[in-house]
């Protein structure tokens, strides 16, 4: 079990954090009978390591000036970030019942104007990294040592603005900028590698002047090492962690299902999904 002894919320294992994030996400998706549950289950380990190992923040003051920024470029992953924000104590657990409902603070695509802890309005894919570049420049200008993390999907590697921002980040030596690419090899029209391959991914980032790592995004120990390396590095370069993840991770019967951008789950299957998670409850 990986614990983060030096993190203020390191009293619970990261595996258990990830498990709880998955559980919250499944409960949220069950409210609407739909939702981006495949992505949420896949990215849960990354969020567990980010929010309970790497990031510094104050749950009772989400806008604390000293916080590490976490930008959700891939807006439809909001269900997963809401789950992490609940686990972090920034959002109340009972609010998950409102996911995607009228007038909820938890819209299906994340918006900064709606939700505490949501730094930007993602969803127009490819916008996160340019905004992160501006925030990282601004933080350095303010002599604020906070990190800026941008979570994006592999599909967003196809957006030109991502690479505009990648060039700018390297040119301006934004060493407090950490980009996390959730490489689940899935986008709206099919497998990312078939829609428009971004490979070789790490080489691309390195050619743009970044420090690049590629890890198994469902391996918590590997993620911990990658985040540690990215944060501790002394090189004046922005960092990217490309994380290969598996859609629906943690719910075996969904993992075996034909994977799509929108994973179909029948009404009676939500309870089955929770039961499957509960059978694998970590310590």
């Amino acid at each position: 079990m990986a614990r983060s002894g030096n993190h203020p919320r390191g009293n619970v294992s990261l595996e258990r954090r990830a498990w709880r994030i998955r559980r919250y996400a499944v409960r949220m998706a069950a409210v609407q009978g739909q939702g981006y549950i495949g992505q949420a289950l896949g990215v849960a380990d990354i969020l567990a390591v980010a929010w309970f190992h790497a990031l510094r923040y104050r749950p009772d003051d989400p806008a604390w000036e000293g916080r590490d920024r976490f930008l959700l470029s891939v807006g439809h992953y909001a269900i997963a970030l809401y789950a992490a924000l609940i686990e972090a104590g920034i959002l109340p657990e009972e609010e998950l019942e409102t996911y995607g409902c009228d007038d909820s603070r938890l819209p299906m695509s994340g918006m900064a104007s709606h939700t505490p802890g949501m730094e930007i309005s993602g969803g127009s894919l490819g916008q996160g990294l340019p905004i992160a570049v501006g925030m990282a420049l601004a933080l350095r200008h303010k002599r604020n040592p906070a990190f800026v993390h941008n979570l994006m999907s592999d599909g967003e590697l196809e957006e030109g603005a991502t690479w505009e921002a990648a060039m700018a980040a390297a040119h301006h030596r934004l060493e407090r900028l950490i980009c996390i690419v959730d490489f689940n090899d899935q986008q709206a029209d099919g497998r990312s590698r078939e829609v428009l391959s971004a490979e070789p991914v790490e080489e691309k980032w390195r050619a743009f002047g970044w420090h690049a790592q590629r890890v198994d995004g469902n391996d918590i120990a590997a993620l911990v090492a990658a985040f540690d390396r990215a944060r501790a590095l002394s090189e004046p370069r922005p960092r990217v962690i490309v994380c290969d993840t598996r859609m629906c991770r943690g719910v075996p019967f969904l993992e075996r299902r034909e994977i799509a951008h929108f994973v179909r789950v029948a009404p009676e299957e939500w309870e089955r999904a929770l039961a499957a998670l509960d059978r694998a409850e970590p310590a």
């Binding site: 490819g126 905004i131 925030m135």
Partner: protein, 333 residues
């Protein structure tokens, strides 16, 4: 001058340098750049960003005065606006500059979602609005207002001259939300100094009274309207000129008050006749049941020619002579 056009047409305003300074009027150099430098001395939160066009948007003055507050984003307008949103999120007040074509056509989605949807105080200052360059459609932002008017919460400014630009800069910085200003750069004419003008976001100002026709003008077309009014006055035609530099939000009260008093209303703008001030005023009047005769002086719904500005302004009806001729014609209808 290699074409040897002789003395008949002196095409000194080349397509290369877009400027309105060749008309023998008093000008001021880089009013935006100087005003921003002066303001930034008092307001530390102001930063400047550009997409490889500092020299061509007068932002180089700010870059020279405050190198540590100037951020070059390279020729990348989406990154420019995205980064400006990031600066604004962190409590700074970014002035981001590029050309109006690139901001409106290429970076629109970023202005929409990263900036306007969140009401962030990004100040987008863009040169070459409408027909202020002879470079042709790649550089002529003839539809920028049409593109931006639909953005909720975005203030849109089209200043007339150097005086107004100087006054607008502090007002833009003080405004809590996003602002788009169409920039006149380089040597900019001085027009409003004789009118005891005080710029205010959202306020139109009647510069000249007259009972025969009301011209509602924006941007440098106010200069043209005033010149036209002086010529028409020689023939006894009294032209009122309402200067309206805030395209959005519209000063509906002043527009309605003036339009009620005039049987002929002409809206003059340096923009396509589609989606600009003309249509905004027309919709307002129709909605209020006020029905003066309504005419537009605007650019055609077309991709415009390249060439020298005086040639093009005459060709597309923005020159003073064209304004005079058309108003006279409408009065005789």
């Amino acid at each position: 001058m290699s074409r040897g056009t002789g003395k008949a047409v002196r095409r000194t305003t080349s397509a290369m340098i877009a400027s309105l300074d060749a008309e023998g009027r008093e000008t001021r150099e880089a009013p935006f750049g100087h005003a921003l430098v002066a303001l930034a001395r008092e307001r530390e939160e102001i930063v400047g960003l550009t997409a490889d066009l500092a020299k061509y948007t007068d932002l180089h003055l700010f870059a020279e005065a405050f190198p540590e507050r100037f951020f070059q984003m390279g020729m990348a307008e989406q990154a420019l606006i995205g980064a400006a949103a990031g600066f604004a999120r962190e409590g700074l007040v970014p002035f981001a500059t590029t050309y109006a074509v690139f901001a409106s056509r290429r970076a629109y989605d970023f202005l929409c979602l990263a900036v306007a949807e969140e009401g962030l105080p990004v100040k987008l200052i863009c040169a070459l609005p409408g027909l202020t360059t002879g470079y042709g459609p790649s550089h002529q932002a003839t539809e920028d207002i049409a593109i931006f008017r639909g953005l909720p919460g975005l203030v849109i400014l089209d200043p007339c001259d150097a005086v107004e630009i100087e006054q607008a800069v502090p007002a833009i910085a003080a405004h809590p939300g996003p602002v788009y200003m169409r920039l006149l750069r380089g040597r900019v004419p001085v027009v409003l100094d004789r009118y005891d003008y005080r710029f205010e976001i959202g306020r139109a100002r009647l510069l000249r009274e007259g009972g025969d026709v009301l011209v509602i003008a924006t941007g440098f077309m106010t200069m043209r309207a005033l010149d036209a009014a002086a010529r028409l006055a020689e023939d006894g035609i009294e032209t009122a000129v309402l200067h309206l530099s805030t395209i959005k939000p519209l000063d509906t009260e002043t527009i309605l008050e003036q339009c009620r008093r005039h049987p002929l209303v002409v809206v003059a703008e340096n923009h396509s006749r589609i989606g600009g001030l003309g249509e905004a005023v027309a919709a307002l009047l129709l909605g209020e049941g006020i029905a003066p005769r309504f005419r537009q002086i605007a650019l055609p719904d077309a991709f415009l020619d390249a060439g020298a500005l005086p040639t093009l302004h005459a060709r597309y009806g923005l020159a003073v002579e064209a304004v005079v001729r058309r108003i006279r014609g409408w009065l005789e209808e």
